[in-house]
């Protein structure tokens, strides 16, 4: 399990307008590029002083590559990060205000308390 790395992906994509569009348009390609080029960058260090050991599990890579927010919830991704990025990518595709957010919640309706642990 690398919940931290899922969260790091969601965080670094969400804060960059260009990457939000890139992930919307090419999910699997963006995940592959990010894992190869970005996953081990320490955000407050220069490029040469990177981490050497971070990678996704197959399950995590698949969930991000097909943009499956239900699977990400099950894996313990931080729900605020997932929701915020999903609103940025997909709210525009829904006709009514908040209909995207309600659909997003309805797809999670089978989860009961306690929800999957988000502790990293």
């Amino acid at each position: 399990m690398s919940k931290y790395l899922i969260d790091k992906f969601l965080f670094t994509i969400d804060r960059d307008p260009g990457l939000v569009e890139r992930y919307r348009d090419d999910p699997a390609g963006t995940v592959a590029w990010w894992e190869a080029e970005q996953a081990n960058q320490i955000l407050n260090c220069i490029a040469g002083e990177a981490t050497t050991w971070l990678s996704f599990t197959e399950e995590e890579r698949d969930a991000l590559s097909v943009q499956d927010h239900v699977a990400l919830f099950q894996l313990g991704a931080h729900p605020f990060l997932t929701l915020t990025l999903w609103i940025a990518m997909f709210e525009r595709d829904y006709p009514e205000p908040l209909s995207m957010q309600r659909d997003y919640g309805a797809r999670l309706a089978h989860f009961n308390l306690p929800y999957p642990d988000i502790t990293t």
Binding site: Y4, D7, K8, F11, D14, R15, P17, I42, L43, N44, F73, H78, P79, F80, L81, T82, L83, T84, I87, A88, L98, Q101, R102, Y104, G105, A106, L108, A109, H110, F111, L113, P114, Y115, I118, T119, T120
Partner: protein, 290 residues
């Protein structure tokens, strides 16, 4: 010594700013009442004539990240840029520049460290909507220096609720002991029951109206014993998966002590309940209308 003239504890709702700017024919039906309530709440700060604001909020994964996550952080800088691209994108919040008050920041850091709170600090902090929402609601002219204090209600493991209350109690002593002739207000924002990114989000009300009603009673009555008897880190999962933001209200209850609030109001909205509380811990001497 400095005078603590007002304590404000409120929800922070990032949609208020954009909603309040809509022309009446485009505004949702609840907008007019929401604006009225916020304007009435604003007056509870204005009349206290504060000189400096201590502002308690929580970064939403903007500047603070999981590779280096503080539990409690005090800003110490001459200025604070504010709001982020994704807040402009999602909520329509404009960028702001807040002025800092480094002397009070330094006092809070020194006295807090000496009192057993090992604060992190930041000399270059861009604050987010947890700090700017109350600027938009209760001080829209943004003309006062601030000291931002961030708490971690967001990235577990979190401090326990008792710790938030104790920090609030310590802040009260620290501000009361500040050698200054300035009038200080403390403004803290959090949440009642709230679900974000889970199955109970964006409903007709907050996810747990019963919790919200009890919470308004606890806060309004200054009932620290009841809130501490009923709220734990584990119990806060039940009202909604983002309800740990309620611990910022508990911190503010610690600042206020065992005192009934002088002003209590709330507004039931879709998705979440708004709530507004003000205490005047030293009476209303020197207020604009007294």
């Amino acid at each position: 010594m400095a005078e603590l003239v007002a304590i404000l504890a409120t929800t922070h709702h990032p949609f208020f700013y954009a909603t309040s700017k809509l022309p009446p024919d485009q505004a949702p039906p609840f907008a007019a009442e929401w604006v009225r309530k916020v304007e009435a709440y604003r007056e509870t700060l204005t009349r206290a004539r504060p000189d400096v604001l201590v502002m308690v909020g929580s970064d939403h994964f903007h500047q603070l990240w999981l590779d280096n996550m503080p539990q409690f952080l005090v800003g110490k800088a001459p200025f604070y840029d504010a709001n982020y691209y994704n807040e402009e994108r999602e909520f329509g919040l404009p960028k702001l520049l807040l002025t800092g008050h480094e002397e009070l920041s330094g006092h809070i850091l020194r006295a807090g460290l000496d009192a057993g709170f090992d604060f992190a600090f930041s000399n270059e902090l861009r604050v987010d909507h947890s700090i700017t929402c109350p600027i938009f609601t209760v001080r829209p002219q943004n003309d006062l220096p601030v000291v931002p204090i961030y708490t971690n209600i967001f990235a577990p493991p979190l401090p326990r609720p008792e710790r938030f209350v104790k920090l609030g109690q310590a802040l009260r002593e620290i501000i009361d002991g500040w050698p200054s002739d300035l009038r200080v207000a403390v403004i803290g924002t959090g949440h009642l029951s709230l679900e974000l990114g889970g199955p109970r989000q964006f409903g007709e009300h907050g996810p747990d109206p019963e919790f919200d009603a009890r919470a308004v009673e606890w806060i309004g009555n200054g009932d620290l014993d009841a809130v501490l008897a009923n709220v734990t880190l584990d119990s806060l999962h039940s009202p909604g998966n983002a309800t740990h933001g309620f611990m910022d209200f508990m911190l503010m209850m610690g600042v206020a002590g065992y005192s009934k609030a002088d002003y209590v109001d709330n507004l039931d909205l879709f998705h979440t309940m708004e709530a507004y509380f003000t205490w005047y811990p030293n009476g209303t001497r020197g207020f604009a209308d007294v």
